[in-house]
Structures are given as structure tokens and as C-alpha cells.
Amino acid sequence: MENFIQGFFNLQVYGEVFPFLLNGLWTTIWLSAIVIPIGAISGLILAIGMTQKNSRLVYWLIIVYVDFFRAFPPLVLLILVYFGWPFLGIELNKLTAVVIAFGLNNASYYAEVFRAGLEGVSKGQMEAARSTGLNKRKALLYVVIPQAVRNVLPDLIGNSIEVVKLTTIASVVALPELLRAARDAQSIVYNPSPVMLAALMYLALLWPLTRWLGRLEHKRGQ
């Protein structure tokens, strides 16, 4: 037990590495702030392509895309993008590689979420908007999408929390997000306390969101 406390709750180590981890936390936050909107917007576009059934080909291409990337582990995807694309003549820095891998992966999940949301908006809404002379783009933008977002707000938040958690895999390409910072610190102090401290930071960051989400979901269930 003594060992365990020394190993995981070593206050002295906490103090030593705190500023370092704070940097990592900051990286996690801005990384999330980049990848979440990108994933959400591409997901929305895919979902629109899926639900506004203009072309069966487009529909099936999107389904194949979405299912493939839902099946593909993001960690493996990141490694392939980072180390593989240069062979195709596309060379990416860490951040771009992470953003692209996350974008490919997240878009598929967000697409499924938005699809459910769009399907929940009655056909009459589009018709009503079109009948007042709004073109399709404007009708989607001002009438259909706001309602779709509302329909699935809890899922959107839930998925975004998942994305924040997923940023930990950026540590394999040594992007210095929170977990990476903790692991680096661990290798300096030869003590796993930094990882524990990182866990506490993740909790501090995400627990309020999870709680809020729980509330929203509960309300929807009623």
C-alpha cells in the first residue's frame, strides 16, 4: 500500500510535474477544439448526403465510408496516415496527421449521429421552407439542421467527449497532449504518479460534461 501511494499519489511528484502536465492539458484542449468542429462539420455534410437521397451512388459511397471508418481503429489509422502517406508524396506534420486521422474517423461517427437527427425532422419542414421560396441550401441551414442538432444534442455532446478522450492516441506520434506529457514526465521521475495526475485532470475536464450529458439524456428519456 505504501508503495502504491508512493507510486500513484506522490504529492511531491505531483508538484514537480504539474506545470508540465498543464501544458499537456492545454494541448489536449486546443487539439480537441480543432478536431471536434472538423469532425462534426464533415459528419454533418456526410449525413446530409445520406439523407437527401439525390443519388443512390452517393448514398452507398457514404455508407461504405462511414462503416469502414467506424470499423477501423483510430490508433491504427493515425499510424498509417503519419507514416504511410509520405510514400504517396503527401508529407504531414504531426498536427496535420492527427487532424486528418481524427477527421476521417470522427466524421463517420458524427455522420451517424447527424443522420439520426436529420431523419427525425419531418419531411413537412423541408416542404414548408421550400414553399416560402427558400432554396434547398437555405432551407437546410435555417430550418432543418437547427432542428436536427436539437434532436441529437446529447449524442453530439457524448460523441465530442469521446473525441476528447481519443486525443490520447495522439501520444503515439508524440504530439505532446496530456497523456503524452504524463508519460514523458513518468520516464523522467521513474514514477507513475504523473499518469495518475493526468487522470485527475481528465476527470476535472470531462466529468462536468459527462454530468451535464447525463442530465440531458435523462430529460430526453422522459
Partner: protein, 225 residues
């Protein structure tokens, strides 16, 4: 070497592929069994927790909520690392497989608990009353009337989670679990060629694409009913 042959030589190198096929194969078995174990344990445990929560005992419910919140807020990789090194520091050195299995099961259980619980609470109160009024005991009602409906309602929101959590078996590579990715990374740095990573990619798709397609089917079937 022009770009195309370079690409093939690098990513689809037959010699390398042949050499490491069995390592990747073994990893695939581990990933498969870890994935299955996680799905089964996570869903069963989550359902049990939801049942305990519906007993309505406040301290127990609070514990369960706290558990679910923490598991849903922590990145699984962090949980994995802490359990792997932490458990053995307190004298329970479980194998990498066991730790991967347990930590992902806990995460899935947290989500399953929330979904099943939501499924249960969304049922009209009359279901419980009607069953009790025929003389069924609380747990009989739970078993035969409430749970079958609650779980049914929990399935659509849960499918996406099951997939993404199961894919996280790849994180086991960090704690020395010899699953696909770990073996592939080892092989690719050992051979100095990323072909094993490509093989891993194929193996993952072969394992998880059926799961994704199955979940789509399940969702559609459930919605129709």
C-alpha cells in the same frame, strides 16, 4: 524505384508479409478473444449495475452513478495504464490480457448501465405494477417483464459504443498485450518495413466491419419492431 513500386515494396511487401503472417494471425486471435470478452462482460456487468440501481437504494445508486461517470470521463488508455501498473503495485499483478479485458469491460459496463437504466426508467410504471399484481416477485418482474423491454430500448444507443470500445483493444498494445497492433508494430520496426501494419489494418477491418454491419442490421430491426 518509382513511386508506385516504392509504395508496393513498402506497404505490400510479400516477403515481409509471409514472414510475419503467423505473428499477425496470433495477434488477431488475441484481439478477437479480448473483444468478445469485453462485449460479453461489459454488457452483463452494465445490466447488473442497472438492476442494482433500480433497487432504489440511494447509497448504492450514488456509487453506481459515480462509477459510471468516472469510467465515462477517463480516456480508456489512461485507465488501462493505471490499472496495469497500479494493480500490481497493490499485489494483484493481472496479465496484460486480463487488464485490457477488465478496463475496457468497466468502460463498456458504464455505458451499458446508463443505457439500460435509461431503458428501464423510460418504461411506464404500470408494467411493474401489472406484473406485481399477478403475484410475481420483484426480481421475477425484473427478469421477465422489465429487463427484456429495457434492454431492447438500450440497444440502439449502445451499438456505436460497443464498436468503439471494442476497437480499443488496440490500446492493449501499450501494456504489452500481444494483440494485432502490438505484434504488427513490433514486426514492422523489426523488419524495418510497414507491411505488417497494413496487414494489421486488414485484420482489424476483417474483425470489426462485420460488427459494424451487424449493428446496423440490429438497429434497423429494432427500430422496425
Amino acid at each position: 524505384m518509382d513511386a508506385a513500386t516504392g509504395f508496393l515494396f513498402t506497404f505490400f511487401n510479400i516477403d515481409v508479409a509471409r514472414q510475419y503472417a503467423d505473428v499477425i494471425g496470433k495477434g488477431t486471435l488475441i484481439t478477437l478473444s479480448a473483444g468478445l470478452a469485453v462485449i460479453v462482460t461489459g454488457i452483463v456487468l452494465g445490466t447488473l449495475l442497472a438492476i442494482v440501481r433500480s433497487l432504489g437504494c440511494r447509497p448504492l445508486s450514488l456509487l453506481i452513478v459515480a462509477f459510471a461517470d468516472i469510467m465515462r470521463s477517463l480516456p480508456p488508455l489512461v485507465l488501462l495504464i493505471i490499472l496495469y501498473f497500479g494493480l500490481s503495485e497493490v499485489g494483484v499483478p493481472l496479465s496484460a490480457f486480463a487488464v485490457t479485458w477488465i478496463s475496457l469491460s468497466l468502460v463498456l459496463a458504464a455505458y451499458a448501465e446508463e443505457s439500460v437504466w435509461a431503458g428501464i426508467t423510460s418504461l411506464p410504471k404500470g408494467q411493474m405494477e401489472a406484473a406485481r399484481s399477478t403475484g410475481m416477485k420483484w426480481w421475477q418482474t425484473m427478469r421477465w417483464v422489465i429487463l427484456p423491454q429495457g434492454i431492447r430500448r438500450a440497444i440502439p444507443p449502445l451499438t456505436n459504443r460497443v464498436i468503439s470500445i471494442t476497437k480499443n483493444t488496440a490500446l492493449g498494445s501499450v501494456v504489452s498485450l500481444n494483440e494485432i497492433l502490438n505484434n504488427a508494430q513490433g514486426a514492422s520496426s523489426y523488419s524495418g518495413n510497414p507491411t505488417p501494419l497494413m496487414m494489421a489494418a486488414f485484420a482489424y477491418v476483417a474483425i470489426f466491419l462485420p460488427l459494424v454491419i451487424f449493428s446496423r442490421w440490429l438497429e434497423r430491426r429494432w427500430i422496425q419492431n
